[in-house]
Amino acid sequence: MSLRLKFVILGVFTLAAYSAAISREQSLPWLIAALFSASLLTGMLWPRWLIQRLAVSRIGPERALEGETVVFSVEVENRGWLPRFMVELVDRLPFVGAAENDPNHADKLLGSVSYVPAGGKRSFEVPLLCEKRGYYRLGPVGLASSFPLGLAEAKKTTNHGVRTLTIYPKVFPILFMPLFGAPSQIHRGGYLLPEGAGAAEFSGLREYRRGDNPRHVHWPTSARLNELMVKEFEPLASACLCIALDLAKDANIGRGKQNTLEYAIRIAASVAGYACSQNMHSRVMAEGAAPLRIASGKGDYHYQTILDALAVIEADGKTPYAQLLTQIALDCVRGETVLLLLSEPPMRCEATLQALALMRAKGAHLFAVVFDRDSFFNVGSWVRPDAGSQPLSAGLLELGAHCVQVRRGDELTELFNS
C-alpha cells in the first residue's frame, strides 16, 4: 500500500472519529479520535526527526575482481540524545545487478537498523558480489525512515560515502601460449627470459647494484678489483605481445556480462597476466571513443596499468578493427605476437584480412581469438547465421595464424589450456 493511500485512509478514519465524537456525548470517541490524530502526527513528523543527527559511513575495498564477493562495513552513529528506531540505509551501488543489464543507478537498501541508542553506534556487514568489471561511483549513502506507521517517508542524502570501486576483469590461468621469440632488444637491458623463448649471451661486466641476481656475480673479477662485479647478458630473442582490442560498437554482441567485449577483455587481461608472469613485454592497443595506448612494458606495475584500463573500457568506438590493425602493423616489432580478438561484422572481414596480411609482411605472428557471433545473439531470437565467418577463418589459416574459436558460455580456462 502506498504511503499516500495509507495517509488518506488514516485521515478519513480520523475525520470519521471526530464526527462520531461530536455527535455523541461520550469521552471514548474523543479518545479514539485523539489517538488517530496522534498516529497521523507521529507518523508524519517522527520519521523527519529520526534521521536528524545521524551519521553513516560505509567502508569497503576500492578494488575487486569480477566474481569476487566484497564486504562493505556499514556503521550508523547516533549523535543525538534520544534513541533512533528503524533507520533504513540506502546506497547507490550501480555494480549490483550489472551482470544482466546495464548498470542501474537506483538506490539499493543496504539494511535497516532497528535501534540505535543515544550516542551509540550500530554496524553491520553487507556482502556484495562484483558481477561485472567496471569503474563504479558508489554512494552517497542515504538515510530513510518511515517509522513507526509507514505514513510518511523521510529521506536524507549526505555527501559522505561517495567512493569508487574498480572491478577488474576476471582472469583465468594460462599455462602455455604458443608464442615466438622476437629478435634482440639489447637496448631494453637484461631481464630474465621466458623458457624456450630465446637465449642470452654474455655481453660484459659492470659493478654490482642492489637487486642484482647474486648468481651473476663474477667472482674472479670481483676478487681482483676488490669490488663486486656482475655479468651482463644480452637477450637474443624474447617473445613480446601486442593485444589489439576491437572497441567498435557493432563488434560487441550480446547483453550484460555475456557479450563479446566482456569475453575479449577477460582474454586480454589473462594473456597480459601470463605475459607479465613470464616477464615478457606486452602492450595494449584499442580505438574506442578515446584511444587506448599502453606502451610496451612488463612487471606488476605494468600489469596493474593494463588491468586499470581494461576495467573501464567500453565498446563505444567507431573505428574499424582493420584501421587499428594497420596502425599496429606499421609500428610492430618483427617477431611480435599480436593477439587478435575478432568479433566484427562479416562485411568488414576483407579489410581486416588485408591489414593482417600487412602485419604478417612486417614479420608479426598472429594469435587470433575468433568469436562465434551467432552464439552471442539473444537466446530465442532467430538470427541469420553469419555467412562471412568462413572466409575469415580460411584467411586466418592462410596467414598462418593460431586460431581459437570462442562461443558464448565456453569455459575459457579449458579453451586456452587444452
Partner: protein, 455 residues
C-alpha cells in the same frame, strides 16, 4: 510481496485487546457477581482459539478451519440457549459477535484477520462505554485496552515493515531492538494522543446548539441499552458514565450541557465506588489508593492553585490599568526583533560586506585597534574570512577551520600559505594551552595586511 506471519507479540496484543474489551462488558455485570465466571469463560475461549490461530503459519490449515466451524456452532448454541436467556438482546447479540470472533481467531494468520479482531474489540468497548451502567471505574479496563490496542497495531506494523526491509536488504543487520522500537512508538502515540485528548474541547452538537441559543435536546440517544432493559440489569441507579461521559447534563440547570470528560470523581466518590458489592479486591484497593493520592494532591496543590489564580487576576488588573504601556512595550519589542533581523540580513548585502571589510582593515590593519589575547586572534581570523567571503569563498557556519582553509586553497592557491598561517595562529590562540602572545597577534596582523593587499 509475500504475506509476513504475525509475530507472537501481535497475537498477545490481540488477545489482550479482546480480553480487556470483554472485561469492560463483563464489568457491567459486576453487581451480580458474575464477573469472575465470565472472565474465566472468555479467557478459555479466546485463549484457546488464539492459540490455534498462532500455531498455523501464514496460511490457515484444514485443522484451523475445522476448529473455526466447531467454535461457530458452539457459539450459535450458546447464543440461543445461554446468552439470550441471561442477557437478552442486544447484549446477547454482542456476545454472539464475540463467539464469531472466537471462531475467526482459529484462522487468524494475517493482517486482515488481525485488523478485524481489533475492530470487533473496539465495537465491544464502544458498546460497554455506551451502557448506562458504565462509569469511571471501567477505566481500570478501558485504559489498558487502549494501550493494548495501540501496542498491537504498532507491533504489527513495525514487525511487518522489519520483515519487508529484511527481505529487500542487501546486508543482514541485526534485528535487535525491535521490541524497544515497538514500545517507544506505542508510548509516543499514547502520549501525543493523551495530550490531544486533553487539549481538544470535547464539544457536542447539543452543547453547540445551546451555546448559540438553539433549543437542544437533553440526553440525546446513543445508549444501546437503557435502564429498565431485561436481563442482568435490575433497576440500579446510575452513578456516572465511562470516562466521566454522557448524561451529565441532567440537572445542570442554566449552565447548559456539560462537556464530556469535564469532571473527575472526588475522593469521597472514589471511596464509595470501592465499597460497591462484588468489586474485585485489587480494584477496590487500587481505587482506595487513588482516592488517597487524589486527596493528598488536592491538599498539596490547593495553595499553589490559589497563588496562580491570584497572580493571574493581578496580571489582568495590571493590564487593565496599564494597557497603553503594555501595548507600546510590545511594539518596541517587535521593532527590536525586526531591526535585529534586518541587521543580520544587511550583512549579506555585498556593498555592506565591502564596507565592513574596509572597516576591518582600517581598524585592524591600519590602526591596529585589536583586542588582546584570544579575542584579537578571533578578530583577525574573522576579518580574513570576511576578506575571502568577498572573493566568493564564504565560510558557512558548519565549516571548520581546516575545511575552510582547504576551500581557500582550492580557489586561491597563491594565498594558501598566508591563510594557513593565520588559521594555525587562530587555532593556537583558540585551542592552545596558552593565550597568544603579542608577537602572534602582530604576525596575524602582518599576514592580514598582506592578504588585503594581494586580494
Amino acid at each position: 510481496m509475500t504475506q509476513a506471519p504475525l509475530g507472537f507479540s501481535v497475537y498477545l496484543g490481540l488477545f489482550a485487546s479482546l480480553m480487556l474489551a470483554l472485561a469492560c462488558n463483563a464489568f457491567l455485570d459486576i453487581q451480580y457477581g458474575s464477573f469472575p465466571r465470565e472472565m474465566i469463560f472468555w479467557t478459555v475461549i479466546i485463549g484457546w482459539t488464539m492459540l490455534i490461530g498462532w500455531r498455523q503459519n501464514r496460511k490457515p490449515t484444514a485443522s484451523g478451519k475445522a476448529w473455526q466451524k466447531g467454535v461457530l456452532f458452539f457459539g450459535l448454541f450458546l447464543f440461543f440457549f445461554v446468552f439470550l436467556r441471561i442477557w437478552d438482546m442486544p447484549r446477547a447479540g454482542l456476545y454472539l459477535l464475540v463467539m464469531l470472533q472466537a471462531s475467526y481467531n482459529c484462522v487468524t494468520t494475517g493482517r486482515r484477520e488481525l485488523n478485524l479482531g481489533l475492530l470487533v474489540s473496539l465495537a465491544l468497548v464502544l458498546f460497554a462505554t455506551s451502557h448506562y451502567r458504565a462509569d469511571w471505574t471501567m477505566l481500570f479496563y478501558l485504559a489498558p485496552y487502549v494501550v493494548a490496542l495501540v501496542f498491537t497495531l504498532v507491533a504489527e506494523q513495525i514487525q511487518r515493515r522489519g520483515d519487508d526491509l529484511r527481505r529487500q536488504s542487501l546486508g543482514r543487520p541485526s534485528n535487535q531492538g525491535q521490541g524497544v522500537a515497538i514500545l517507544a512508538a506505542t508510548a509516543s502515540i499514547l502520549l501525543v494522543g493523551g495530550g490531544l485528548y486533553k487539549l481538544t474541547p470535547q464539544v457536542s452538537w447539543p452543547y453547540l446548539e445551546w451555546q448559540y441559543g438553539q433549543i437542544s435536546p437533553r440526553n440525546p440517544g446513543g445508549e444501546l441499552e437503557q435502564q429498565g432493559s431485561t436481563g442482568q440489569n435490575g433497576a440500579d441507579k446510575q452513578v456516572d458514565v465511562a470516562g466521566g461521559g454522557q448524561n451529565q447534563a441532567q440537572g445542570s440547570g442554566d449552565s447548559g450541557p456539560e462537556l464530556p470528560g469535564s469532571s473527575w470523581p472526588t475522593p469521597a466518590e472514589m471511596r464509595a465506588a470501592a465499597k460497591r458489592p462484588n468489586m474485585p479486591g485489587w480494584q477496590a484497593k487500587a481505587i482506595e489508593q487513588l482516592a488517597d493520592v487524589s486527596e493528598s494532591v488536592q491538599q498539596t496543590l490547593q495553595p499553589v492553585v490559589v497563588a496562580v489564580i491570584d497572580l493571574w487576576e493581578a496580571l489582568k488588573q495590571w493590564l487593565k490599568e496599564h494597557w497603553l504601556a503594555a501595548l507600546l512595550g510590545m511594539l518596541a519589542l517587535l521593532l527590536l526583533i525586526i531591526l535585529v533581523a534586518f541587521g543580520v540580513l544587511l550583512r549579506e548585502v555585498p556593498w555592506i560586506a565591502w564596507l565592513l571589510m574596509q572597516w576591518d582593515y582600517l581598524r585592524l590593519g591600519v590602526l591596529a585597534r585589536h583586542a588582546d589575547g584570544e579575542r584579537g586572534a578571533v578578530q583577525y581570523y574573522r576579518a580574513m574570512a570576511r576578506l575571502f567571503a568577498l572573493q566568493d569563498v564564504p565560510r558557512s557556519e558548519a565549516t571548520n577551520t581546516r575545511e575552510y582553509l582547504s576551500q581557500i586553497g582550492r580557489r586561491h592557491r597563491d594565498l594558501h600559505k598566508n591563510a594557513a598561517e593565520i588559521t594555525w595562529l587562530f587555532e593556537q590562540a583558540r585551542y592552545g594551552a596558552k593565550p597568544p602572545s603579542k608577537d602572534s597577534i602582530g604576525r596575524m596582523r602582518q599576514l592580514y595586511r598582506d592578504l588585503y593587499r594581494r586580494l
